[in-house]
Amino acid sequence: MTNPVQAPALVELKAVNKHYGPLHVLQDINLQVTKGEVVVVIGPSGSGKSTLCRTINRLETIDDGSITIEGEELPKEGKALAALRADVGMVFQSFNLFAHKTILENVTLGPIKVKGVSKADAEKQALALLERVGVGHQAAKLPAQLSGGQQQRVAIARALAMKPKVMLFDEPTSALDPEMINEVLDVMVELAREGMTMVVVTHEMGFARKAADRVVFMADGQIVEEATPDEFFTNPQSSRAKDFLSKILTNG
Protein backbone atom coordinates (compact mmCIF):
# COMPACT_ATOMS: atom_id res chain seq x y z
CA MET A 1 0.00 0.00 0.00
CA THR A 2 1.43 3.38 -0.97
CA ASN A 3 1.11 6.41 1.19
CA PRO A 4 -1.12 9.05 -0.30
CA VAL A 5 0.63 12.34 -0.90
CA GLN A 6 -0.41 14.48 2.01
CA ALA A 7 -0.22 18.23 2.34
CA PRO A 8 2.18 18.75 5.24
CA ALA A 9 0.41 19.85 8.40
CA LEU A 10 1.02 23.46 9.40
CA VAL A 11 -0.19 22.75 12.90
CA GLU A 12 -0.18 19.25 14.30
CA LEU A 13 -1.26 18.05 17.73
CA LYS A 14 -0.37 14.48 18.61
CA ALA A 15 -1.71 12.68 21.66
CA VAL A 16 -1.98 15.88 23.67
CA ASN A 17 -3.10 15.59 27.28
CA LYS A 18 -3.67 18.26 29.86
CA HIS A 19 -5.03 18.22 33.40
CA TYR A 20 -6.26 21.00 35.65
CA GLY A 21 -5.83 19.23 38.94
CA PRO A 22 -8.14 16.22 38.76
CA LEU A 23 -9.89 17.55 35.66
CA HIS A 24 -8.64 15.96 32.44
CA VAL A 25 -9.34 18.94 30.13
CA LEU A 26 -7.61 17.63 27.02
CA GLN A 27 -7.75 13.89 26.44
CA ASP A 28 -5.50 12.41 23.82
CA ILE A 29 -6.09 15.17 21.29
CA ASN A 30 -4.95 14.56 17.72
CA LEU A 31 -5.51 17.35 15.24
CA GLN A 32 -3.93 18.48 11.99
CA VAL A 33 -4.43 21.80 10.33
CA THR A 34 -3.04 22.20 6.82
CA LYS A 35 -2.00 25.45 5.25
CA GLY A 36 -4.93 27.58 4.18
CA GLU A 37 -7.42 25.51 6.08
CA VAL A 38 -10.11 27.00 8.31
CA VAL A 39 -10.90 24.71 11.22
CA VAL A 40 -13.81 25.62 13.44
CA VAL A 41 -13.87 24.07 16.90
CA ILE A 42 -17.28 23.91 18.53
CA GLY A 43 -18.67 22.21 21.55
CA PRO A 44 -20.44 22.84 24.84
CA SER A 45 -18.91 25.02 27.56
CA GLY A 46 -16.16 23.28 29.45
CA SER A 47 -15.42 20.90 26.60
CA GLY A 48 -11.80 22.10 26.42
CA LYS A 49 -12.03 23.90 23.10
CA SER A 50 -10.58 27.20 24.37
CA THR A 51 -7.82 25.34 26.17
CA LEU A 52 -7.05 23.47 22.96
CA CYS A 53 -6.79 26.74 21.06
CA ARG A 54 -4.53 28.27 23.70
CA THR A 55 -2.12 25.33 23.72
CA ILE A 56 -1.24 26.03 20.09
CA ASN A 57 0.79 29.10 21.06
CA ARG A 58 1.56 27.69 24.47
CA LEU A 59 -0.43 30.18 26.50
CA GLU A 60 -1.48 26.90 28.07
CA THR A 61 1.17 24.28 28.67
CA ILE A 62 0.46 20.62 28.03
CA ASP A 63 1.22 17.59 30.18
CA ASP A 64 2.25 15.26 27.38
CA GLY A 65 1.97 14.72 23.67
CA SER A 66 3.43 17.02 21.07
CA ILE A 67 2.43 20.16 19.23
CA THR A 68 4.35 21.12 16.10
CA ILE A 69 4.12 24.11 13.82
CA GLU A 70 5.60 23.54 10.37
CA GLY A 71 7.08 20.34 11.74
CA GLU A 72 8.86 22.10 14.61
CA GLU A 73 8.03 21.28 18.18
CA LEU A 74 6.76 24.22 20.26
CA PRO A 75 9.67 25.60 22.28
CA LYS A 76 9.17 25.36 26.03
CA GLU A 77 10.03 28.94 26.94
CA GLY A 78 12.28 31.92 26.37
CA LYS A 79 13.31 33.60 23.13
CA ALA A 80 12.46 30.63 20.92
CA LEU A 81 8.92 30.52 22.25
CA ALA A 82 8.52 34.29 21.80
CA ALA A 83 9.76 33.94 18.22
CA LEU A 84 7.23 31.21 17.53
CA ARG A 85 4.39 33.23 19.00
CA ALA A 86 5.26 36.06 16.63
CA ASP A 87 4.23 33.69 13.80
CA VAL A 88 0.98 32.62 15.43
CA GLY A 89 -1.70 35.31 15.61
CA MET A 90 -4.18 35.19 18.43
CA VAL A 91 -7.51 36.92 18.91
CA PHE A 92 -9.02 36.74 22.38
CA GLN A 93 -12.58 36.71 23.61
CA SER A 94 -11.99 39.87 25.65
CA PHE A 95 -9.99 41.67 22.91
CA ASN A 96 -7.09 42.45 25.27
CA LEU A 97 -6.00 45.56 23.42
CA PHE A 98 -3.19 47.31 25.29
CA ALA A 99 -5.24 49.74 27.36
CA HIS A 100 -2.60 52.47 27.67
CA LYS A 101 -1.69 52.55 23.99
CA THR A 102 -3.53 54.09 21.05
CA ILE A 103 -5.15 51.93 18.41
CA LEU A 104 -2.26 52.65 16.05
CA GLU A 105 0.35 51.82 18.72
CA ASN A 106 -1.48 48.59 19.49
CA VAL A 107 -0.97 47.49 15.91
CA THR A 108 2.58 48.80 15.41
CA LEU A 109 4.05 47.56 18.71
CA GLY A 110 4.68 43.98 17.60
CA PRO A 111 6.24 44.77 14.22
CA ILE A 112 8.49 47.48 15.75
CA LYS A 113 9.60 45.65 18.90
CA VAL A 114 9.57 42.04 17.76
CA LYS A 115 10.35 42.25 14.06
CA GLY A 116 12.45 45.40 14.05
CA VAL A 117 10.33 47.12 11.40
CA SER A 118 10.90 50.88 11.23
CA LYS A 119 8.27 53.05 12.87
CA ALA A 120 7.28 54.67 9.58
CA ASP A 121 6.84 51.34 7.80
CA ALA A 122 4.99 49.83 10.74
CA GLU A 123 2.58 52.77 10.85
CA LYS A 124 1.96 52.63 7.13
CA GLN A 125 1.20 48.93 7.33
CA ALA A 126 -0.92 49.39 10.48
CA LEU A 127 -3.04 52.11 8.89
CA ALA A 128 -3.64 49.90 5.86
CA LEU A 129 -4.69 47.02 8.12
CA LEU A 130 -6.92 49.25 10.24
CA GLU A 131 -8.48 50.55 7.03
CA ARG A 132 -9.05 46.99 5.90
CA VAL A 133 -10.90 46.05 9.09
CA GLY A 134 -12.86 49.30 8.90
CA VAL A 135 -11.45 51.30 11.81
CA GLY A 136 -8.86 53.41 10.00
CA HIS A 137 -10.30 56.69 11.25
CA GLN A 138 -9.97 55.58 14.90
CA ALA A 139 -6.18 55.19 14.85
CA ALA A 140 -5.43 57.95 17.36
CA LYS A 141 -7.98 56.83 19.96
CA LEU A 142 -7.50 54.65 23.02
CA PRO A 143 -9.10 51.19 23.06
CA ALA A 144 -11.69 52.14 25.70
CA GLN A 145 -13.08 54.78 23.32
CA LEU A 146 -14.09 52.12 20.79
CA SER A 147 -17.05 49.77 20.75
CA GLY A 148 -16.47 46.09 21.41
CA GLY A 149 -16.83 45.19 17.76
CA GLN A 150 -14.33 47.86 16.75
CA GLN A 151 -11.89 46.74 19.45
CA GLN A 152 -12.06 43.16 18.25
CA ARG A 153 -11.40 44.23 14.67
CA VAL A 154 -8.37 46.18 15.91
CA ALA A 155 -7.25 43.03 17.73
CA ILE A 156 -7.46 41.15 14.44
CA ALA A 157 -5.42 43.88 12.74
CA ARG A 158 -2.87 43.69 15.56
CA ALA A 159 -2.47 39.96 14.99
CA LEU A 160 -2.32 40.37 11.20
CA ALA A 161 0.42 42.99 11.51
CA MET A 162 2.79 40.21 12.54
CA LYS A 163 2.07 38.43 9.23
CA PRO A 164 1.24 35.20 11.07
CA LYS A 165 1.31 31.74 9.50
CA VAL A 166 -1.81 30.77 11.38
CA MET A 167 -4.43 32.71 13.29
CA LEU A 168 -6.09 31.44 16.45
CA PHE A 169 -9.49 32.84 17.41
CA ASP A 170 -10.61 32.07 20.95
CA GLU A 171 -14.36 32.79 20.98
CA PRO A 172 -13.84 36.12 19.24
CA THR A 173 -17.50 37.14 19.28
CA SER A 174 -18.63 35.78 22.65
CA ALA A 175 -18.09 39.07 24.51
CA LEU A 176 -19.81 41.19 21.88
CA ASP A 177 -23.25 42.74 21.77
CA PRO A 178 -25.32 40.91 19.16
CA GLU A 179 -25.38 43.82 16.72
CA MET A 180 -21.58 43.85 16.61
CA ILE A 181 -21.00 40.18 15.98
CA ASN A 182 -21.38 40.37 12.24
CA GLU A 183 -18.89 43.17 11.71
CA VAL A 184 -16.25 40.92 13.29
CA LEU A 185 -17.39 37.76 11.50
CA ASP A 186 -17.31 39.59 8.16
CA VAL A 187 -13.65 40.39 8.69
CA MET A 188 -12.98 36.76 9.59
CA VAL A 189 -14.85 35.42 6.57
CA GLU A 190 -12.83 37.79 4.40
CA LEU A 191 -9.60 36.47 5.95
CA ALA A 192 -10.67 32.89 5.36
CA ARG A 193 -11.38 33.68 1.70
CA GLU A 194 -7.92 35.14 1.33
CA GLY A 195 -6.43 31.82 2.35
CA MET A 196 -5.42 32.50 5.95
CA THR A 197 -4.94 29.36 8.00
CA MET A 198 -7.34 29.67 10.91
CA VAL A 199 -8.35 27.78 14.03
CA VAL A 200 -11.57 29.29 15.30
CA VAL A 201 -13.27 28.42 18.57
CA THR A 202 -16.77 29.79 18.29
CA HIS A 203 -20.45 29.40 18.96
CA GLU A 204 -21.30 31.07 15.64
CA MET A 205 -22.68 28.24 13.57
CA GLY A 206 -23.29 30.65 10.72
CA PHE A 207 -19.59 31.32 10.49
CA ALA A 208 -18.82 27.60 10.60
CA ARG A 209 -21.20 26.96 7.68
CA LYS A 210 -19.95 29.90 5.67
CA ALA A 211 -16.20 29.76 6.15
CA ALA A 212 -15.07 26.50 7.69
CA ASP A 213 -13.34 23.76 5.74
CA ARG A 214 -13.73 21.43 8.68
CA VAL A 215 -15.68 21.37 11.90
CA VAL A 216 -14.17 19.79 14.97
CA PHE A 217 -16.68 18.94 17.66
CA MET A 218 -15.36 18.65 21.20
CA ALA A 219 -17.02 17.40 24.35
CA ASP A 220 -15.55 16.59 27.76
CA GLY A 221 -11.99 17.15 26.65
CA GLN A 222 -12.17 14.90 23.63
CA ILE A 223 -12.53 15.43 19.93
CA VAL A 224 -15.75 13.57 19.31
CA GLU A 225 -16.31 14.28 15.68
CA GLU A 226 -14.57 15.87 12.71
CA ALA A 227 -16.37 16.58 9.45
CA THR A 228 -17.05 19.15 6.78
CA PRO A 229 -19.58 21.73 7.95
CA ASP A 230 -22.18 20.32 5.60
CA GLU A 231 -21.81 16.77 6.88
CA PHE A 232 -21.63 17.86 10.47
CA PHE A 233 -24.68 20.09 10.52
CA THR A 234 -26.91 17.87 8.37
CA ASN A 235 -25.75 14.46 9.48
CA PRO A 236 -23.91 14.43 12.80
CA GLN A 237 -22.69 10.95 13.72
CA SER A 238 -22.30 10.99 17.49
CA SER A 239 -25.16 11.28 19.93
CA ARG A 240 -23.38 14.10 21.75
CA ALA A 241 -23.08 16.16 18.60
CA LYS A 242 -26.75 15.49 17.80
CA ASP A 243 -27.70 16.57 21.29
CA PHE A 244 -25.55 19.71 21.08
CA LEU A 245 -26.90 20.70 17.69
CA SER A 246 -30.50 20.12 18.72
CA LYS A 247 -29.99 22.55 21.59
CA ILE A 248 -28.41 25.35 19.62
CA LEU A 249 -30.23 25.06 16.34
CA THR A 250 -33.83 24.79 17.52
CA ASN A 251 -34.07 28.34 18.76
CA GLY A 252 -32.90 29.78 15.43
Partner: protein, 216 residues
Protein backbone atom coordinates in the same frame (compact mmCIF):
# COMPACT_ATOMS: atom_id res chain seq x y z
CA UNK B 1 10.41 83.79 63.95
CA UNK B 2 13.78 84.73 65.40
CA UNK B 3 14.87 81.15 65.69
CA UNK B 4 14.74 80.49 62.00
CA UNK B 5 16.22 83.85 60.94
CA UNK B 6 19.04 83.74 63.46
CA UNK B 7 19.89 80.18 62.48
CA UNK B 8 19.13 80.34 58.77
CA UNK B 9 22.51 78.73 57.99
CA UNK B 10 21.50 75.70 60.03
CA UNK B 11 18.04 75.44 58.49
CA UNK B 12 19.38 75.90 54.95
CA UNK B 13 22.10 73.28 55.28
CA UNK B 14 19.78 70.92 57.12
CA UNK B 15 17.00 71.04 54.59
CA UNK B 16 19.41 71.06 51.67
CA UNK B 17 20.84 67.76 52.90
CA UNK B 18 17.34 66.43 53.55
CA UNK B 19 16.51 67.32 49.96
CA UNK B 20 19.61 65.57 48.66
CA UNK B 21 19.01 62.47 50.79
CA UNK B 22 15.40 62.36 49.69
CA UNK B 23 15.91 62.96 45.97
CA UNK B 24 18.76 60.52 45.51
CA UNK B 25 17.24 57.81 47.72
CA UNK B 26 13.86 58.19 46.02
CA UNK B 27 15.52 57.83 42.62
CA UNK B 28 17.40 54.65 43.53
CA UNK B 29 14.49 53.22 45.53
CA UNK B 30 12.19 53.67 42.55
CA UNK B 31 14.58 51.90 40.21
CA UNK B 32 15.51 49.12 42.61
CA UNK B 33 11.91 48.70 43.77
CA UNK B 34 10.73 48.35 40.16
CA UNK B 35 13.42 45.78 39.41
CA UNK B 36 12.55 43.79 42.53
CA UNK B 37 8.83 43.92 41.70
CA UNK B 38 9.74 42.58 38.25
CA UNK B 39 11.80 39.82 39.83
CA UNK B 40 8.88 38.81 42.00
CA UNK B 41 6.61 38.23 39.00
CA UNK B 42 9.32 36.65 36.86
CA UNK B 43 8.83 33.16 35.44
CA UNK B 44 12.23 32.12 36.89
CA UNK B 45 11.79 30.65 40.39
CA UNK B 46 15.30 31.76 41.48
CA UNK B 47 14.52 35.39 40.63
CA UNK B 48 11.21 35.23 42.49
CA UNK B 49 12.89 33.71 45.53
CA UNK B 50 15.67 36.31 45.56
CA UNK B 51 13.17 39.16 45.31
CA UNK B 52 10.97 37.76 48.03
CA UNK B 53 13.95 37.14 50.32
CA UNK B 54 15.22 40.70 49.90
CA UNK B 55 11.82 42.27 50.57
CA UNK B 56 11.13 40.10 53.59
CA UNK B 57 14.51 40.68 55.19
CA UNK B 58 14.92 44.40 54.56
CA UNK B 59 11.30 45.42 55.04
CA UNK B 60 11.17 43.68 58.37
CA UNK B 61 14.33 45.30 59.70
CA UNK B 62 13.98 48.63 61.54
CA UNK B 63 15.37 51.51 59.49
CA UNK B 64 17.58 52.56 62.39
CA UNK B 65 19.31 49.18 62.32
CA UNK B 66 19.85 49.36 58.57
CA UNK B 67 21.37 52.83 58.82
CA UNK B 68 23.44 51.74 61.81
CA UNK B 69 24.80 48.90 59.74
CA UNK B 70 25.93 51.18 56.93
CA UNK B 71 27.16 54.02 59.14
CA UNK B 72 28.76 52.01 61.93
CA UNK B 73 29.04 48.37 60.91
CA UNK B 74 30.16 48.80 57.32
CA UNK B 75 33.35 50.81 58.14
CA UNK B 76 34.54 47.83 60.23
CA UNK B 77 34.52 45.66 57.12
CA UNK B 78 37.57 45.85 54.90
CA UNK B 79 35.75 47.70 52.15
CA UNK B 80 36.12 51.07 50.43
CA UNK B 81 35.20 53.91 52.75
CA UNK B 82 31.91 55.72 52.32
CA UNK B 83 30.78 59.00 53.82
CA UNK B 84 27.92 59.10 56.34
CA UNK B 85 25.85 60.86 53.71
CA UNK B 86 26.39 58.08 51.18
CA UNK B 87 25.82 55.45 53.84
CA UNK B 88 22.50 57.08 54.63
CA UNK B 89 21.57 57.19 50.94
CA UNK B 90 22.35 53.48 50.50
CA UNK B 91 20.43 52.52 53.63
CA UNK B 92 17.39 54.64 52.79
CA UNK B 93 17.35 53.41 49.18
CA UNK B 94 17.54 49.75 50.13
CA UNK B 95 14.87 50.17 52.79
CA UNK B 96 12.45 52.25 50.71
CA UNK B 97 12.87 50.01 47.65
CA UNK B 98 11.09 47.18 49.48
CA UNK B 99 8.01 49.36 49.97
CA UNK B 100 8.20 50.62 46.39
CA UNK B 101 8.41 47.02 45.21
CA UNK B 102 5.32 45.99 47.14
CA UNK B 103 3.34 49.00 45.91
CA UNK B 104 4.28 48.25 42.31
CA UNK B 105 3.55 44.56 42.74
CA UNK B 106 0.05 45.39 43.90
CA UNK B 107 -0.24 47.52 40.75
CA UNK B 108 0.95 44.65 38.59
CA UNK B 109 -1.84 42.55 40.07
CA UNK B 110 -4.43 45.08 38.89
CA UNK B 111 -3.36 44.68 35.25
CA UNK B 112 -5.54 41.98 33.76
CA UNK B 113 -3.82 38.78 32.77
CA UNK B 114 -5.19 39.28 29.25
CA UNK B 115 -2.84 42.22 28.77
CA UNK B 116 0.28 40.13 29.26
CA UNK B 117 -1.23 37.22 27.33
CA UNK B 118 -1.83 39.52 24.38
CA UNK B 119 1.73 40.82 24.66
CA UNK B 120 3.15 37.31 24.73
CA UNK B 121 0.89 36.31 21.86
CA UNK B 122 2.48 38.90 19.54
CA UNK B 123 5.90 37.52 20.47
CA UNK B 124 7.10 39.90 23.17
CA UNK B 125 9.49 38.19 25.59
CA UNK B 126 8.99 38.49 29.36
CA UNK B 127 11.10 41.63 29.84
CA UNK B 128 9.33 43.58 27.12
CA UNK B 129 5.92 42.34 28.21
CA UNK B 130 6.76 43.68 31.65
CA UNK B 131 8.34 47.00 30.65
CA UNK B 132 6.13 47.92 27.69
CA UNK B 133 2.74 46.59 28.71
CA UNK B 134 2.42 45.64 32.37
CA UNK B 135 4.53 48.18 34.29
CA UNK B 136 3.23 51.31 32.52
CA UNK B 137 -0.30 50.27 33.46
CA UNK B 138 0.72 49.15 36.94
CA UNK B 139 2.35 52.53 37.70
CA UNK B 140 -0.87 54.34 36.91
CA UNK B 141 -2.79 52.49 39.54
CA UNK B 142 -0.17 52.84 42.26
CA UNK B 143 0.46 56.58 42.23
CA UNK B 144 -1.28 57.15 45.60
CA UNK B 145 0.43 54.33 47.55
CA UNK B 146 3.74 55.13 45.88
CA UNK B 147 3.51 58.71 47.07
CA UNK B 148 2.75 57.52 50.58
CA UNK B 149 6.00 55.59 50.38
CA UNK B 150 7.90 58.67 49.21
CA UNK B 151 6.35 60.91 51.86
CA UNK B 152 7.45 58.33 54.43
CA UNK B 153 10.92 58.41 52.88
CA UNK B 154 11.08 62.19 53.19
CA UNK B 155 10.36 61.90 56.89
CA UNK B 156 12.57 58.83 57.32
CA UNK B 157 15.55 60.91 56.19
CA UNK B 158 15.54 62.42 59.70
CA UNK B 159 16.72 59.08 61.07
CA UNK B 160 20.04 59.82 59.38
CA UNK B 161 20.49 62.63 61.91
CA UNK B 162 21.40 59.92 64.39
CA UNK B 163 24.37 59.04 62.21
CA UNK B 164 26.13 62.37 61.92
CA UNK B 165 24.37 63.61 58.80
CA UNK B 166 23.41 67.23 59.18
CA UNK B 167 19.90 67.14 57.83
CA UNK B 168 16.60 68.56 59.02
CA UNK B 169 16.26 66.02 61.82
CA UNK B 170 19.57 67.21 63.27
CA UNK B 171 18.58 70.88 63.40
CA UNK B 172 17.05 70.45 66.83
CA UNK B 173 20.28 69.16 68.35
CA UNK B 174 22.32 72.03 66.86
CA UNK B 175 19.77 74.55 68.11
CA UNK B 176 20.12 73.21 71.63
CA UNK B 177 23.88 73.58 71.36
CA UNK B 178 23.44 77.21 70.37
CA UNK B 179 21.19 77.71 73.38
CA UNK B 180 18.07 78.38 71.35
CA UNK B 181 14.63 77.52 72.79
CA UNK B 182 13.69 73.99 71.77
CA UNK B 183 9.98 74.18 71.04
CA UNK B 184 9.92 76.92 68.37
CA UNK B 185 12.81 75.23 66.58
CA UNK B 186 10.99 71.91 66.49
CA UNK B 187 7.80 73.55 65.30
CA UNK B 188 9.65 75.26 62.46
CA UNK B 189 11.17 71.98 61.34
CA UNK B 190 7.78 70.29 61.45
CA UNK B 191 6.18 73.15 59.53
CA UNK B 192 8.78 73.03 56.79
CA UNK B 193 8.18 69.27 56.38
CA UNK B 194 4.46 69.89 56.00
CA UNK B 195 5.19 72.59 53.43
CA UNK B 196 7.51 70.25 51.52
CA UNK B 197 4.88 67.50 51.40
CA UNK B 198 1.90 69.72 50.64
CA UNK B 199 3.84 72.06 48.40
CA UNK B 200 5.82 69.60 46.29
CA UNK B 201 4.87 65.94 46.70
CA UNK B 202 1.09 66.27 46.87
CA UNK B 203 0.80 68.51 43.77
CA UNK B 204 3.13 66.14 41.90
CA UNK B 205 0.95 63.20 42.90
CA UNK B 206 -2.20 65.05 41.78
CA UNK B 207 -0.55 65.94 38.48
CA UNK B 208 0.50 62.35 37.76
CA UNK B 209 -2.89 60.94 38.74
CA UNK B 210 -4.57 63.33 36.34
CA UNK B 211 -2.11 62.78 33.53
CA UNK B 212 -2.20 58.99 33.79
CA UNK B 213 -5.91 58.60 34.30
CA UNK B 214 -6.88 55.90 31.83
CA UNK B 215 -10.30 54.87 30.82
CA UNK B 216 -10.57 51.13 31.20
Amino acid sequence: MNVIIDNSDLFLTGFKNTGILFAISAFFALILGTVVAGMRVSPAPAMRAAGTFYVNVVRNTPLTLILAFFALGYPKLDLPEISFMNAAIIGLSLYTATYVSEAIRSGINTVSVGQSEAARAIGLPFMQTLTLIVLPQAFRSVVPPLFSVFIALLKNTTVAAGFSVLEAGAIRAYLSERGEPLLPGLLWVALIFVVLVLGILTPLQRYLEKKWRVAR
